[in-house]
């Protein structure tokens, strides 16, 4: 394992932990951004250039901003009076730990089965483009439709409800 990987993994995990633990919501959101960036760099480390840049563009450029906007619109940046954690946080923590345990167990158990060699795949952006409009054109169209529907839906859901004249 290369030191760069350790660095990036630490960045990602640290960002994720901070996002979950920080009390101030905006700080949490910014920490999420760090996690997203770390993931993007991990993608680059995995020679998935396109996915990495798309990750930055979508998550940092759009999702993080959206989250921050939502926080400000719901006055989430003011610290709450009582705890930020729910009353049954211990149970949640236990379950999360159990999930990690199971996942880690699965990974470690299959250590021998997974491939170890790592030949750099000769995949260019050109190939990705061709695949997107070739083999994956239907999913692409559907995702386009989904995004349109989601945009419209989000606008409608978040739009001010008009005051109806009382009868």
């Amino acid at each position: 394992m290369s030191p760069i990987f350790y660095l990036l993994a630490a960045l990602t995990i640290g960002g994720g932990l901070a996002a979950v633990l920080l009390k101030n919501l905006v700080h949490a959101a910014l920490a999420t951004t760090v996690a997203f960036a770390g993931l993007a760099l991990l993608y680059l480390e995995l020679d998935a250039q396109f996915a990495g840049f798309a990750q930055i563009l979508v998550y940092i450029g759009a999702v993080a901003i959206l989250i921050v906007f939502a926080i400000l619109l719901t006055r989430g940046s003011d610290l709450p009076k009582d705890s930020v954690f729910s009353r049954t946080w211990a149970v949640g923590l236990v379950i999360a730990a159990a999930v990690f345990a199971v996942l880690a167990w699965a990974v470690l158990q299959s250590l021998r089965a997974v491939p170890q060699q790592m030949a750099v795949p000769a995949v260019t952006v050109h190939d990705i483009g061709n695949a997107l409009v070739g083999r994956y054109v239907l999913p692409l169209e559907i995702v386009g439709l989904l995004l349109t529907a989601a945009t419209v839906g989000a606008v409608i859901v978040a739009m001010h409800e008009k005051e109806r004249p009382k009868p």
Binding site: A19, T32, L93, I95, F100, P115
Partner: protein, 104 residues
């Protein structure tokens, strides 16, 4: 000195667990959404790692899966946050502990 697949998988598993913990223990709906985003991202990391180490990286399957998943996650975030805002407008709160009524 290359990193084996298991390393990525472990990082992804850890990130997934962190996201799940965030979704389970925080009160604020937005943070629950953040947790879910982290879980999605962990899954994406898995997909890309498997793509990279898989027998046929030139088929781009895992990469495409990840790219589509990113797009879907963006839509999910938009709708989810729209819902949170709409709920906030209704109940003046984003606290999930208080959000247990069916009544509007």
């Amino acid at each position: 000195m290359t990193t084996p697949l298991a390393g990525y998988l472990l990082v992804a598993a850890l990130l997934f667990a962190i996201g799940l913990a965030g979704a389970l223990v925080r009160r604020n709906a937005i943070l629950v959404l953040i947790g879910i985003e982290l879980m999605l991202n962990a899954a994406n990391l898995n997909l890309i790692a498997f793509w990279r180490f898989g027998p046929h990286p030139e088929l781009l399957t895992g990469m495409m899966f990840a790219i589509f998943s990113i797009a879907v996650a963006a839509a999910e975030a938009a709708v989810g946050l729209g819902l949170v805002i709409s709920i906030y407008r209704h109940t003046n709160s984003t606290d999930l502990d208080k959000m247990n009524r069916m009544k509007g």
